[in-house]
């Protein structure tokens, strides 16, 4: 029974399951919209994000669709800029932490022994520090800002990927095709990069989507706490910052609801795409 199912072309399964996922489809569309918005932000946005263009805290109007903030900047323009920052942080952090994680995971898994023990010890250590706390400390020591946020998040987000890659390498190392490669005298580097790594890509990719989602959330949280992107630069997190003030919270919903909703949609889209990827890489998933 199981064997019979697996015989079905995997490729078809991938696309089939992927597109069947209506939410994933909607998410892809949504993400494309966000990316386009971010890329062409300065063309789309009605005003410059940091310029005062209206009266203080004006409610939504024809000139300012989402109103203006406490010092008269256009909320929509700042929102568009914030999306750009969020995506920038998300992508950069994912790339940095993936590279670190993949290298550490590959080295640990392939060489094993003491190297493995040392690297995994390090991984455990980084994982033992409560995540936000570590970032806060780092943000307190280094000057907060876009670059430091990216670097800080990038350097604390890798342990998950490292563990994942190490696990894949360890299990792939035991497969017969890697043994056959060894018997055929293929070079070690070839086995590691051309045989093992491509087979570990799928779980890495899935995990990377969640890193991206988390890093966007973390940037927003840090900026919200005032330890992330510093004003006047707009970020979805620091736009929400003012809502700790009771007047803004109760009477100026346009100042905090839109950035909040945008963060949710952005992260949700990424999460759904990750879930769809997981489904599509696991052909058995739908028979459970």
């Amino acid at each position: 029974m199981e064997a019979l199912i697996q015989k079905k072309s995997q490729k078809r399964t991938h696309t089939f399951v992927f597109w069947k996922h209506k939410l994933a489809f909607a998410s892809v569309i949504l993400l494309i919209i966000f990316v386009v918005t971010a890329l062409f932000g300065n063309m789309i946005s009605p005003y410059a994000p940091n310029t005062i263009t209206g009266s203080f805290s004006a409610p939504p109007s024809v000139q300012h669709w989402l109103g203006t903030d406490q010092i008269g900047r256009d909320v929509l323009s700042r929102l568009i800029y914030g999306i750009k920052i969020s995506l920038l942080v998300g992508v950069s952090v994912t790339v940095i932490s993936s590279i670190i994680g993949i290298v550490i995971g590959l080295v640990a898994g392939f060489f094993g022994g003491k190297i493995d023990a040392a690297l995994m010890g390090l991984t455990d250590m980084v994982m033992s520090f409560p995540y936000i706390l570590l970032v806060l400390v780092a943000a307190a020591i280094f000057k907060p800002g876009l670059l430091s946020i990216i670097l800080i998040l990038g350097f604390v987000d890798w342990p998950g990927i490292a563990r994942l890659v190490r696990g894949s390498v360890l299990s792939l190392r035991e497969t017969n095709f890697i043994k056959a490669d060894q018997l055929a005298g293929l070079p070690k580097t070839y086995i590691l990069f051309s045989e093992i790594l491509p087979n570990a890509i799928a779980p890495i990719l899935i995990y990377a989507t969640s890193v991206m989602a988390y890093s966007i959330l973390d940037e927003a949280a840090l900026s919200f706490l005032g330890m992330g992107i510093q004003p006047p630069t707009a970020s979805l997190g620091n736009m929400l910052n003012g809502a700790e003030n009771l007047t803004i919270l109760t009477e100026r919903l346009w100042l905090w609801l839109p950035p909040g909703i945008v963060i949710i949609l952005l992260v949700l889209a990424i999460n759904f795409i990750g879930d769809a990827l997981r489904d599509s890489f696991d052909p058995n998933n739908h028979y459970k």
Binding site: F129, L217, A221, L225, I264, V267, F272, K288
Partner: protein, 315 residues
């Protein structure tokens, strides 16, 4: 079993040392450890004298050992801001945090398990689909945003619940009052953690539902209830323990934000204040403490695994 525990403890020691080294490095990067012990308002000459006394002219590793010795004696230094011993500050703030985290963790897990089991046993049904989608929505909402929303709804609009502090000012601390103050932050933390809990337990459960031993249990005719709640659930305890273990460091982080928004007088608030004031001794003290707590949690999780899974002692 005892040997297994011993082994796990032995393996935890180097990690613990590593954590203190990282902590120490951060500390030295942030400032002179002497200042941290005595505060910045000490004269240059006195500092110099102390430097020799504490061996700060000695090699780095000796300095580290001196510092470690202090830590082991409970001396985490003094706050820059209030000049109180860091250990006292931590001691007075740890209770509220434990209360908040504990309630959130308990409720989150207690709700997640039945929801996840329902979802897994009704896979691809509408209910399952709704639960999974909701869990994704849950994990995608930043907790500070949901905090703002619940404050807006329950405090501002409905006026049902307080949104600040741990008790009403000027009144004697009473259980009911603390409970009312606790509700909103706990709701937010539960909402933030439940999504990933449900998905993790659900996928673990799905895997277990595929196992031959469940088919065999069904073939025994012992009834669906026992098959799920005895055979499947006992095996699912391991992933559930894992989830609890994973939640603790995450909750520590989550409480920083939540305590800040709800002015909950716990470690998170202490940390945030310290961060904003560059009060490094306090930050480092909290960091070290939480890292140790996380490590101990990991240790406990491992030990619990062995208690739940009879095959584990042989690994």
């Amino acid at each position: 079993m005892r040997k297994y525990v011993l082994k796990k403890i032995l393996f935890a020691i180097p990690i613990l040392i590593g954590i203190t080294i990282i902590d120490y490095l951060f500390m030295s990067y942030a400032g002179n450890p002497l200042q941290m012990i005595h505060g910045p308002k000490v004269s240059q000459a006195a500092v110099h004298a102390k430097e020799i006394e504490y061996g700060l002219n000695k090699p780095f590793y000796i300095q580290y050992l001196v510092w470690l010795n202090q830590i082991l004696h409970g001396n985490f230094g003094y706050s820059y801001k209030s000049f109180q011993p860091v250990s006292d500050l931590i001691a007075s703030h740890v209770g509220p945090t434990l209360l908040l985290m504990g309630s959130a963790l308990f409720i989150s897990i207690a709700l997640s398990i039945p929801v996840a089991i329902y979802s897994a046993t009704h896979q691809y049904s509408k209910g399952d689909y709704t639960i999974v989608t909701a869990s994704f929505v849950g994990t995608s909402i930043p907790s500070f945003f949901s905090a703002l929303v619940v404050i807006y709804l329950f405090t501002v609009k409905l006026g049902w619940l307080p949104s600040s502090g741990m008790s009403t000012l000027g009144e004697n601390t009473q259980f009911g009052d603390v409970f009312r103050h606790l509700l909103l932050p706990v709701i937010v933390l539960v909402a933030a953690t439940m999504g990933s809990n449900v998905r993790y337990i659900r996928s673990a459960m799905l895997e277990i539902l595929q196992k031959d031993y469940l088919l065999n249990a069904r073939a025994k005719g012992i009834g669906r209830f026992l098959v799920i709640n005895k055979h499947a659930l006992k095996n699912a305890l391991i992933p559930i323990i894992t989830v609890i273990g994973m939640q603790i460091p995450l909750l520590f982080g989550g409480t920083v934000i939540i305590e800040q928004i709800f002015s909950w007088p716990g470690l998170g608030l202490l940390t945030m204040t310290a961060v904003l004031n560059n009060d490094y001794p306090v930050i480092m003290g909290v960091c070290l403490l939480t890292a140790v707590v996380v490590l101990i949690t990991n240790l406990l999780t491992d030990i619990l695994y062995a208690a739940v899974d009879p095959t584990i002692t042989f690994k």
